[in-house]
């Protein structure tokens, strides 16, 4: 398909050039395959010849007189009789053997390696073996041997008579292979060999087939989109039913069942073709369903009409269908081999060839073109093929699982690699973020030092240059020291607990107020103080502490307060808690409007503007009220401190 698709856009000359190339490819692939198949054909034929079970020729009885249709004539076994549809008056073979009791250390037996379809054996007129009782022994597609011990009391010293009645049901001709009579020890091994090959082995194969059928059916049930498993399971189930269901012996009451069993072979083979098509990934053609018609016809006719019609139909329709299916299968695998050149197509191709050879051999046997004692091998080889295919499929399934595993392994590796890359990039990102944070911190520190300490030191220099003495320089230097402590203190990680910063501030402020003889009232309304703020950054702390410092400085310097009260409280208006810090003094206050002594009020106004500015940068709200009885600065903290500086201008 892909080759055709690839060729569509190419031009005519390329097409012409592609054709010989393709032919060359075909030849280079098909010829070796066909040679291989020829080799397999030869090996199979040789193998069949070699595997032919040998019988103890010393005890063979070949010369019989046969009475068929009232006509008695001498025959030499193996012997074919005409095909017949009635069980009445079966061909009757009479032979003789010599028994000497001196030789009879062990018991004697009569051994029939192959007959078709059923036999009744009598020695000296006493029936001692009737194979009709063993339904499986009479199946023409099995090569079941029979052995029976001859009771010693029946044997006469010298000449004995053996008679065989051969029951035949058409359309196949009746067949009686050489009969062996002799010591049981001599006959038994040959019988065991044949039983092993033609009875036990098929049962073993059928057992495998049934197990594989279950496995494949489960696979199909779990993977409905792969009908190939279901098809093969169905074929195997049919094979198993066919192998284990007892075939009806005429005149069977359940002749309907016979029809089902007969129909199984063509349906099975058609299923195998479906499997082949699906297995190699082709679409099942709609007209391909016609392949099932012969089997269904046999089935329907078997259900409607009694025997022997289904058997005749089976011979006419079923067996050729099997052959057709095998040839189709051979073609399919050959195509697959040419296209895919993989182990699966090679293996299945070889298996199909072997089965095909066996089928041809059986056909030749039926048509009496070759003589091999009428041993049918196609069923056996077919079972073997099914088992091989089933095993192959299971193997393929396991390999697919392995691929999934290795894919999962690759996936894990890939994910790990991706994870590592991600980690590395995350680390880079983190490094960058850390560097940025460090730079920010440095900038902040510079600004804080510049804002406070720098200005104060410059002021100290200016004061000393102008020859000021004592108090003013001391104040400026103390302010500088205080600011330095504040900046250093703010570097410490307080884990979002503003109370820790306020604690240090209280301590410093108390020390600062002590010489002025001003009391600092400290009231924390809630046990915890203000709520925790994980997002709290040092620059927030500095702004807040500077606001409080400014408020205290104003109270001391300009309001002549005797008492300053700091109240820390937490409120919750339903949108989460927020802290409020109030600084109240009992000084004489100031007029917020700003008229009065220009110098002092100008300074106060600047201080107030600074405070508001700082509060705004932290997202806090500053509230100022002042009258003659005192000043109250109320700082309402935000519920969440802003990440970036909200300073305006």
């Amino acid at each position: 398909m892909s080759e055709i698709a690839a060729k569509v856009p190419t031009k005519a000359p390329t097409k012409a050039a592609a054709k010989p190339a393709r032919r060359r490819l075909l030849a280079s692939r098909l010829v070796p395959y066909l040679l291989l198949q020829a080799l397999i054909v030869i090996v199979t034929i040789l193998g069949l010849r070699l595997l032919q079970p040998s019988d103890p020729d010393d005890f063979a009885l070949s010369d019989f007189s046969a009475r068929e249709d009232g006509l008695i004539r001498p025959v030499t076994l193996p012997h074919f009789t005409s095909s017949r549809y009635s069980l009445a008056d079966p061909p009757f073979y009479t032979g003789a053997f010599t028994f000497r009791s001196a030789d009879a250390a062990s018991g004697w037996s009569v051994y029939l390696p192959r007959f078709s379809n059923a036999v009744e054996v009598a020695v000296n007129g006493v029936v001692m073996l009737d194979s009709r009782r063993d339904a499986n022994a009479n199946r023409p597609d099995r090569n079941t041997p029979q052995i029976a011990a001859i009771p010693t009391s029946l044997l006469r010293e010298g000449g004995n008579e053996i008679t065989v009645r051969l029951f035949v049901w058409g359309p196949l001709k009746g067949f009686l292979d050489t009969v062996y009579v002799g010591p049981d020890v001599a006959l038994r091994p040959a019988y065991e060999t044949r039983t092993l090959l033609f009875v036990t082995l098929p049962v073993v194969f059928s057992a495998w087939q049934s197990i594989l059928a279950v496995i494949l059916a489960i696979m199909w049930l779990m993977r409905r989109h792969e009908p190939v498993y279901g098809v093969l399971a169905a074929a195997m189930v049919l094979g198993v039913v066919q192998a284990f269901a007892p075939p009806p012996v005429p005149p069977a009451a359940t002749s309907r069942l016979a029809a089902v069993l007969l129909a199984s072979a063509p349906i099975e083979s058609a299923l195998i073709v479906v499997f082949g098509v699906l297995f190699f990934g082709w679409r099942w053609p709609r007209y391909g369903t016609l392949l099932f018609v012969p089997g269904i016809v046999v089935f329907v006719v078997g259900l409607i009409g009694g025997p022997p019609l289904p058997r005749i139909l089976f011979l006419v329709l079923g067996i050729p269908t099997v052959g057709l299916c095998l040839i189709l299968m051979a073609c399919i695998t050959a195509t697959a081999v040419v296209r895919r050149q993989d182990a699966a197509s090679f293996t299945i191709g070889c298996a199909v060839t072997i089965v095909l050879v066996c089928w041809i051999q059986d056909m030749l046997t039926v048509l009496e073109i070759v003589s091999n004692d009428r041993i049918f091998v196609s069923r056996l080889s077919y079972s073997a093929m099914l088992v091989a295919i089933g095993a192959g499929l299971t193997w393929r399934f396991a390999r697919a699982l392995n691929q999934v595993d290795s894919f999962a392994g690759q996936l894990v590796t890939r994910v790990r690699e991706a994870e590592e890359r991600l980690k590395a990039s995350f680390a880079r990102e983190e490094e960058r973020a850390r560097a940025a944070a460090l730079a920010n911190e440095r900038t902040r520190l510079m600004r804080d030092l510049h804002d406070g300490l720098g200005g104060q030191l410059v002021s100290i220099v200016a004061l000393s240059e102008r020859g000021h003495e004592g108090a003013s320089i001391t104040d400026a230097a103390r302010a500088a020291l205080k600011d330095l402590r504040l900046v250093i203190d703010s570097m410490d990680d307080i884990g979002g607990d503003l109370m820790l910063a306020l604690g240090s501030w209280r301590e410093r402020t108390t020390a600062q107020l002590r010489p002025h003889d001003i009391t600092l009232d400290w009231r924390v309304a809630t046990p915890q103080g203000v709520p925790l703020h994980p997002e709290l950054r040092p620059w927030h702390v500095i702004q807040i502490v500077r606001i409080l410092d400014e408020a205290v400085t104003n109270a001391v310097k300009h309001a002549q307060a005797r008492r300053i009260a700091v109240t820390i409280d937490t409120f919750d208006a339903g949108q989460g808690p927020y802290g409020v810090i109030s600084v109240t003094d009992d000084g004489h206050g100031f007029a917020p409007s700003g008229n009065g002594e220009a110098g002092r009020n100008g300074q106060t106004a600047r201080g107030l503007r600074n405070m508001r500015n700082r509060a705004a940068r932290c997202g806090a709200v500053l509230d100022l009220s002042s009258d003659a009885s005192g000043t109250r600065v109320r700082l309402q903290l935000p519920q969440r401190f802003p990440d970036s500086d909200m300073a305006v201008g």
Partner: protein, 227 residues
């Protein structure tokens, strides 16, 4: 006016400070308060001053021209266990104060403290009341948290063994760190106000690492060193 100890004798102070103006300032404040003050500008001077006898109080700066005040504190603790030791710090930063405490100091004095405060601090120390600042308390309690979290790398700053602090002592430190007064802490924790300063001194003593081998033992106990 002469400041006297419990037994009545004059309290002697050895002041070790290399910056002359600071030294004068402190000495003035202490002498004015009635203490007998000997001053030294270097480690060597301090040691020779000690030859004349042990002072009741040692006040020392950490950075000295011929060595570190820590060495002097350690020597003092070994030779004169009864001497109260205070470190003089410019900023009262945790780094210097805590490292002094771990070798045996039980107090600190800010260089810019007002003269009255200087005298009061020394008097309190002799009376068994060690001073502590909110930031130092904060530093110690944050170390107790760090030890509980068992973090892989030790936090920066001096090594501090907080394992021997009792929950009560840690509560007191928390109160100080958050700016509560001794009276407030005492009422919160159901203590008498007078016992809080004594607790502080106990805390300092527990943070002290006495010998080198003990330091190693503590480090092993805390999992800082793996043997």
């Amino acid at each position: 006016m002469t400041e006297q100890g419990e037994t009545g004798e004059i309290i002697t102070i050895l002041l070790v400070e290399d910056d002359a103006p600071t030294c004068w300032r402190l000495q003035d404040a202490l002498v004015k308060a009635g203490y007998e003050v000997r001053s030294a500008g270097t480690l060597g001077e301090a040691r020779s001053a000690l030859a004349a006898g042990a002072p009741r109080v040692l006040l020392t700066d950490l950075r000295l021209p011929d060595g570190h005040g820590i060495e002097l504190i350690r020597e003092m603790r070994q030779r004169f266990p009864d001497t109260e030791i205070m470190v003089i710090s410019a900023l009262g930063d945790e780094e210097s104060v805590i490292s002094a405490i771990t070798v045996g100091a039980t107090g600190y004095l800010l260089k810019d403290a007002f003269p009255t405060d200087i005298a009061t601090t020394v008097r309190d120390l002799v009376a068994g009341h060690s001073p502590i600042s909110a930031s130092i308390a904060r530093f110690i309690v944050r170390r107790t948290q760090g030890a509980a979290q068992n973090s892989a790398e030790p936090p920066p700053g001096p090594v501090l063994n907080t394992a021997r602090l009792t929950p009560r002592e840690i509560d007191i430190l928390w109160g100080i760190a958050k700016g509560f007064s001794y009276a407030e802490i005492a009422s919160h924790l159901g203590l008498s106000k007078q016992t809080v300063p004594g607790h502080i001194k106990n805390i300092y003593r527990k943070l002290e690492v006495h010998t080198r081998s003990e330091a190693v033992f503590e480090a092993v106990q805390q999992g800082l060193i793996k043997l």
